[in-house]
Point group: C2
Chain length 197, copies 2
């Protein structure tokens, strides 16, 4: 199973040496936390107070409609940071659930710890800002794709840019993420397989 070690990630992303990593560990002890499949990282009504690095596994962002269908807004895999910025920064209760899609191993950091951490290690704050900017760009791109691409184009784009979504996410969740019905996704896959053969 794919695994991305947190300390390796930090060392690589911040471009620091082993000694500095060791220093950081005193602030953020390396204590992995395990979410069993279907465990919730965040649920509607709770305030999000932490960020977490996914070492392995995957999480599903979703809301529920009146029929209790899951409306999937995002899926993140190992190597990503999971949090709900909308609730984290406003301190308002979340309107989003975040659930483990597989058994998932995370390094969770509470926001107050993070803040003292940033004071001590400005490089980390720079990374944080970069990640937030990347999220902004990504969600704007997502809106543009939903606005201007057909369902088939959105699917082939996912196929190309994030194949883990096709390999590891049940098709009815992926369909929801693409904004279509599961049967429509099935139909699109069928059409594409015809063309490629």
């Amino acid at each position: 199973m794919q695994h991305i070690d947190f300390l390796n990630y930090i060392q690589r992303e911040l471009q620091i040496n082993g000694a500095e990593v060791e220093e950081m560990r005193q602030f953020v002890p390396y204590k992995p936390k395990f979410l069993a499949k279907n465990d919730l990282f965040l649920s509607v009504g709770k305030v999000c107070t932490s960020v977490a690095f996914i070492e392995s596994g995957a999480v599903l962002y979703f809301r529920e409609n009146d029929d209790a269908d899951k409306l999937v807004c995002d899926v993140l895999f190992e190597g990503s940071w999971v949090t709900y910025i909308q609730s984290l920064v406003t301190k308002m209760p979340s309107d989003m659930n975040i659930q483990a899609l597989e058994d998932t191993r995370i390094i969770e950091i509470e926001q107050d710890v993070l803040n003292t951490f940033f004071e001590k290690f400005p490089k980390a704050e720079r990374l944080s800002r970069k990640l937030t900017e990347a999220s902004f760009i990504q969600i704007a791109q997502r809106a543009a794709d939903l606005q201007f691409l057909t369902a088939e184009e959105r699917y082939t784009k996912v196929l190309k840019e994030e194949p883990r979504l096709i390999e590891r996410v049940p098709q009815y969740y992926l369909a929801s993420l693409l904004g279509i019905a599961p049967q429509s996704l099935s139909r699109i896959r069928k059409e594409l397989s015809k063309q490629s053969s």
Copy 2:
């Protein structure tokens, strides 16, 4: 014509007194800039280096597809800040055009001026952060609407939440913003007018 005075806005939003406003004016001289209808605030390929408060008028965010159709991504009116965060923070050339939809009066502030300004007036930086957060929440909501609402639902939502879009934006631009063809919007309007009569 609707007009929102920049200094009033600043005083109200930062909750400061007239003397403080006066102090701020020395850093950011109150020099309105005028964009004639169709003038570009930002064009594809240029790096965005400023933010601007719209005192009156409106601007259109758009890309162009192969057929030179405008793909409308946003429209902002008086009282909003216009910038292209994706280019502003990354210093990468813009993939977006921003054009005056009406004769528009703005207060433009270059990023370097803004940074010294923030050092001097922390309240302003707080406002800036709040505005960026609001943009994030807004674009995420936009993506969710495109993903889960029908075209008609998106139209009625706009009708309710930002009627200036219906009143002041040509219908073919509004249709593009909603992610549909102009004829489809015309059809939706017709259906709705039937129902309400």
